[in-house]
Symmetry: C2
Subunit: 422 residues, 2 copies
């Protein structure tokens, strides 16, 4: 094949091969899929040398390109990380298979038996950035849920991802499943992705994992449905009836424990009736932890050393040791603030008042609403999904962390005895 | 307000008002929503004169514009149709409210209680063509499920839809809910729709109901998620072990009972082992009913009076008294044909062989798969959803008929006792 192929041709070939393989994995039994997962784990074990060598090439290129230390660290594979990846593959074997799960809707008056049965989504295009472990996570979660992924990782991880995908494809073949059930886009040609996200005849879903810019770009250009995760502007609201020690621990944990992730808190809302007692308590802790505080005028009247917040702060996703703080007039004002500035990710209330908690949990709209808990728990593992392929902040298909079930849909199954419609 | 408003401004004002009203109806109780539905029914009763007058203006314009008799009939309102519409509104009162439905996921090892609770989608933009009853159907289904619709009907029904929406908004106010919970786009300016389907800050979903061209156009230009219903290329496969009388009744009903709808059968697949017996039987019935038969060579060897099918026939959605007929080598060949040519709508097998039925129901991918039943049963009412706002043939969010539950999503609700993440 020495012909020059157009981006569109490459995309359609990938997508067609995926569609065909998807038919096979969609009807594979749980046992077959688990067998393939074990084979993949073994292939990854056997490929350790090759993986480290491929990763070394990516690391060398990254250093030459002057990537940041943080970026290079995210890219790095070592024996520990490879072992964690392999143990991740084996943990998916233990997760329940959603495919085939049946929900009866009972008989209809005409005798038709109606049920809904879970089926895979089909072909899923996953676009992500530098960490190579996403390649394996996404590949095996799609496999277990009977889907055929087309993986497009960052160009920084090109060789690492290539070696990982080769190992996974070999594992599929070891288990008698088609290698094309896991494919990678082996080019950095952006037009191939452009064609894939418009190939709605063959591709059922696009999951972009990355910054807001990437996700907006994909959403604007795709005709295939896209799972959107724009940003996490998460709030903790400390209600007047809060246990203030608990509130301080939650507000501290939500901001400081891992500030760079989407379920970290960005804005702390404090009820005016307790602001004078609570704010010094938490802001002193933030101060000691090196957190920059950007506060409204009422909060600054209690804690003048804070920087003055501007309107932009209420919509900011800092992903850093910075927090916006606002004093609000009570539950209604907190809910209004969240309705206006929340990003639909995670909202938590701290209170000992059951009625206030009930209202907050009912009226705050986000993929996850919490009572007396840190926002950091909005995560597929922490919520009990077993694994997570991403978090959706749009309400369509899935809202919040997406596990195996969220990688499936339901079809109607109707059993008749010759019924016709009159 | 004598200023000239841009299309974008009009769209954003509509969408903002809808977002604000959506917050209120999202937390309205079932009783409040049912009360509003009854108030809407009464307002429609009281508006009968106004409705007929508005409809007369549309009918006059339609006649002057030379619309077809069929189009004009779809547009017409009379006392019987208005009564049916009102009884439709009251029937929605009896449907169970999905909002607030709770599914426990049990406690986590750290003591967090996790549940998933159904919530409305939010603001839904519904774009449809001439029948005015869709205005009321869509409005009340969105209301019952706690959503705020923005309705955009066809320009032919402009005055009728205006009168219907005024009655519904008055009913909302009678019941103490915001009128803006049901809005209509009161302009035929296409750019308003163009702006609404990109207003992802305010609009959660677009449901276009109409031809494939409309849906492709919306999908290409929207950044808001779109429910897609491209077409219904539905099959009936008559297996070698079929009861041939039953097969004839099902194949006849699926094609002839109402050929112009998406769940009508377009292609009949017949197992080669029974083709010589079955084909004359069914094709004679089609012939007497005025059905044009477009058949492959093997079918024509049994029934030479059929027209010769071309490759295009296997992908055709005739929506008419025309049927494509193909003889296939058995179950595998039938499944291959469906995988290649099916549109994911409805697939039915006729057989007395349980194993063949099991395989077909498992392996045929469509929103509804059937055994020994007419494809015409793929419909929200017939499957027991109580009502239907449309049928999705894409697998995201909902696959198949969408009832009240499909107009909702789930959020995670987490109850803690001060848990923080370590």
């Amino acid at each position: 094949m020495n012909e020059i192929q157009s981006s569109e041709t490459i995309a359609i070939e990938l997508a067609r091969a995926a569609r065909s393989a998807a038919r096979t994995v969609a009807t594979a039994t749980t046992e077959q899929k688990n067998h393939a997962l074990e084979a993949i784990a073994r292939r990854l074990e056997a490929s350790q040398g090759e993986l480290l060598e491929a990763n070394a090439r990516d690391l060398k290129a990254a250093q030459e390109a002057g990537l940041s230390t943080a970026m290079i660290d995210r890219l790095r594979l070592d024996q520990t990380r490879i072992a964690a990846m392999i143990s991740g593959v084996r943990s998916v074997i233990d997760l329940p298979d959603p495919v085939g799960r049946r929900e009866s809707m009972g008989p209809r008056p005409n005798g038709l038996e109606v049920a809904r049965v879970r089926i895979p989504l089909g072909v899923i295009c996953i676009i992500y950035e530098s960490r190579p472990n996403v390649t394996v996570d996404a590949g095996v979660l799609c496999l277990k849920s009977g889907n055929a992924p087309i993986l497009k990782g960052g160009k920084e991880a090109f060789h690492s991802n290539g070696a990982l995908v080769r190992a996974m494809r070999a594992g599929l073949e070891d288990a008698g499943l088609p290698a094309d059930a896991i494919q990678a886009v082996a080019t950095s040609d952006r037009e191939v992705i452009g064609a894939l996200i418009r190939a709605d005849e063959y591709v059922d879903l696009v999951i972009p994992r990355g910054g807001e810019g990437l996700i907006r770009h994909i959403t604007t250009h795709a005709t295939v449905p896209v799972i959107q995760h724009y940003k996490g502007v998460c709030h903790v609201f400390v209600h007047e009836a809060a246990d203030l020690d608990m509130a301080s621990d939650i507000a501290f944990n939500a901001k400081v424990q891992r500030p760079g992730v989407c379920n970290a808190m960005e804005t702390l809302l404090v009820d005016e009736t307790i602001a004078a007692w609570f704010l010094p308590k938490i802001l002193e802790r933030y101060n000691q932890a090196g957190v920059t505080v950007r506060a409204d005028a009422r909060a600054r009247s209690v804690w003048p050393q804070a920087e003055a917040a501007t309107e932009e702060d209420w919509d900011a996703e800092y992903l850093d040791l910075t927090v916006a703080v606002r004093v609000v007039g009570g539950l209604d004002a907190a809910l209004d603030h969240i309705a206006l500035h929340g990003s639909g990710h995670t909202e938590s209330i701290v209170t000992e008042d059951q009625a206030a908690s009930d209202r907050f949990l009912r009226e705050a709209t986000a993929s996850c609403v919490m009572h007396n808990a840190s926002t950091r728990f909005n995560d597929g593992f922490e919520l009990g999904l077993g694994a997570e392929i991403g978090i959706s902040t749009s309400r369509l298909h899935a809202f919040g962390p997406m596990g195996l079930e969220e990688l499936t849909t339901r079809k109607f199954v109707v059993l008749g005895e010759g019924q016709i419609r009159s």
